[in-house]
């Protein structure tokens, strides 16, 4: 299910956050001096509500602007790219992709439509390109079918029904973009258990093939099982890094923020 371009890469791409500050109405929400994401294949980002995890993700995608600082993408094939200077829609073409925390869907598009939209290249999307549906369909339908079958989605010519299905569709849309750096914002929230395990399986597969993955997740079991490194965020900054074991040893910190029984 993972494409050849992804397996061909040896070094993993990284995202480098430098002196990044974001405040809303004078209240500093994120303040990160220096953070490198992507050292390890799968990294987790945890912390209490309001720690700034989602805001940081949005800053990386430049769907929210930075007050100061830069966020850059280091990648062997294209070199360094300063993401914080680029508009949001340039992230996906560079291979930086994020799934959404809240449920996001195109209500009028079917499941297949949604996937075809994701894979369709910009050159086919012009007012004068009126005979290109077959080209886009034929070039991507095998890839789409693999996901359809893997996640047992059934009939593709229908609308995503439940919240869980929409959430899953959101993740599949991201996967179809063939990300080089994938940010997952609470990917398993609202998903049934068997789907969660399939998502985890795909994430592992992608990571093996060379994609860097960062997961924000409240379900700490997913984090402890999946991640090679964990960043612990509190009050807008990353206060702890380390392997899952190391983070769990910092009982005082973690318990303070996450409560007993989560460690």
């Amino acid at each position: 299910m993972v494409s050849e371009t992804q397996t061909a890469t040896l070094t993993r791409p990284q995202i480098h956050v430098q002196n990044a500050v974001k405040s809303f109405n004078g209240r500093v929400v994120v303040k990160i001096d220096d953070l490198v994401l992507g050292d390890q294949p799968i990294e987790g980002l945890i912390g209490p509500n309001g720690a700034g995890k989602t805001t940081l993700m949005r800053m990386i995608m430049h769907s929210t602007s930075l007050d100061t600082g830069t966020i850059s993408f280091r990648n062997e094939s294209v070199g360094d790219v300063v993401l914080s200077d680029l508009p949001t829609h340039w992230m996906a073409p560079h291979g930086v992709v994020k799934s959404n925390q809240v449920i996001m869907d195109f209500d009028k598009l079917t499941i297949l439509d949604s996937m075809l939209l994701s894979v369709s290249q910009a050159k086919y999307e012009h007012p004068h390109r009126i005979f290109d549906e077959k080209t886009v369909y034929n070039s991507s339908i095998e890839h789409i079918h693999e996901y359809m079958e893997f996640f047992e989605l059934g009939d593709p010519y229908r609308f995503a029904g439940s919240a869980g299905e929409k959430k899953l569709l959101d993740i599949i849309r991201c996967l179809l973009l063939q990300p080089r750096f994938l940010l997952l914002d609470e990917p398993t929230a609202g998903l049934p258990e068997e789907v969660t395990s399939k998502v985890v399986e795909i994430v592992r597969e992608l990571a093996t093939a060379g994609t860097a993955i960062v997961i924000v997740e409240h379900d700490l079991n997913v984090i402890w099982n999946l991640c090679d490194e964990v960043h612990f965020m509190a009050e807008g900054s990353v206060v702890l890094h380390g392997s899952p074991e190391e983070i769990r040893q910092h009982k005082t910190v973690v318990e303070k923020y996450l409560g007993e029984g989560h460690v």
Binding site: M61, S63, T88, H89, W90, M91, A92, P93, V97, K98, N100, M104, D105, F106, D107, K108, L109, T110, L112, D113, L116, L117, S118, S120, A122, Y124, E125, H126, P127, R129, I130, F131, D132, E133, V136, Y137, Y157, R158, F159, R173, L177
Partner: protein, 316 residues
């Protein structure tokens, strides 16, 4: 050609229907798919009409009428398209209220310019000198042929719109209309696509305006009132904003009913024709619009059915 069977009012009535259907189809791309509520339809229509008219009548063309006509037509379309690009650029990131006010303001500006720029447009007196690019005999025959030509143009627009629904581009437009931030996160240049769509739609409206001007043979700011925008909007909403055939169904029902049935076949007192009927028409348009929005907001044809359409397109 013997056209005795055809009443003159039927030609002009059908012509109004065809023009409104054409505008409604283009509005469907903007409003129905991309959710840009363009309330300045008549502005682009008017810019196309006047750019065409001014160039055609004011320039001393060195070559034949037909070429002068076609070049002027292309010019009118182009100017409307450029206006669409500029207005689109201004409004593309505004919310719905901003788009409404912006486009409405633009249409008003066009109306005022047409009235005040007397050297170019003839002001309130109007601009004469337009004619059909052919002459096949009587006025009636010429008008009938023009109705046929414009119907073909509108039919081509219908085919184009129908194709758009079956392309990756149409899918992108629907996606932008349904959830723009999500489309952007998938790498889609939503802003650029919105202004280009707006420009293409506006160019088409300009073309229809120019074709309309030819039929009138006399351009005056009177034909740039809000009623043109309203008619296209009402026709589209009643037929079904999200459906290709919405503008066609709505156009024939609403405009056809008023401009043909009421004005010609109902035994109404003669003195009503000057003031009462046009006013009555506005009132009923408004009333019908309210009823449709209350009881069937998606129009007669209802919502788009991507599930059925895509199954057909992909041959499954």
């Amino acid at each position: 050609m013997n056209l005795d069977w055809l009443h003159a009012f039927l030609i002009s009535g059908l012509f109004s229907v065809v023009v409104i259907v054409g505008l409604g189809l283009l509005l469907h791309l903007q409003l129905g798919l991309t959710r840009i509520a363009n309330f300045g339809v008549v502005g682009f229509f008017g810019i196309g009409m006047y750019s065409f008219g001014v160039l055609f009548t004011k320039v001393d063309w060195p070559f034949g009428d037909l070429w002068a006509f076609l070049i002027s037509l292309a010019f009118g379309t182009l100017v409307a398209g450029i206006a669409g690009l500029l207005i689109g650029w201004l409004i593309a990131d505004l919310d719905e209220d901003g788009v409404l006010v912006g486009t409405l303001g633009f249409a008003t500006a066009v109306f005022i310019l047409a009235t005040t720029e007397q050297d170019l447009t003839g002001g309130a007196l109007g601009l004469g000198g337009l004619k059909f690019p052919y002459d096949i005999g009587s006025v009636k025959a010429n008008e009938f042929l023009w109705l046929v030509i414009v119907s073909i143009v509108v039919a081509l627009i219908l085919l184009y719109v129908q194709r758009i629904h079956r392309t990756p581009y149409g899918r992108l437009l629907i996606a932008i209309g349904a959830n723009e931030p999500l489309a952007r996160s998938l790498g889609k240049a939503t802003f650029r696509n919105k202004i280009w769509l707006f420009a293409v739609g506006s160019a088409g409206m300009g073309l229809i305006g120019a074709l309309f001007g030819v039929m009138k043979r006399f351009l005056s700011p009177e034909s740039l009132g809000i009623d043109v925008t309203l008619a296209a909007m009402v026709a589209l909403v009643i037929g079904g904003t999200a459906r290709v055939w919405g503008a066609v169904v709505g156009g024939f029902l609403v405009i056809g009913f008023f401009d043909i049935v009421v004005q010609s076949y109902l035994p109404l007192p003669k003195e009503w024709y000057g003031q009462a009927i046009p006013n009555l028409k506005q009132i009923v348009f408004g009333g019908v619009l309210i009823m449709v929005l209350l009881f069937r907001p998606l129009g007669i044809l209802g919502d788009m059915r991507r599930d059925k359409l895509m199954r057909r397109v992909h041959g499954e």
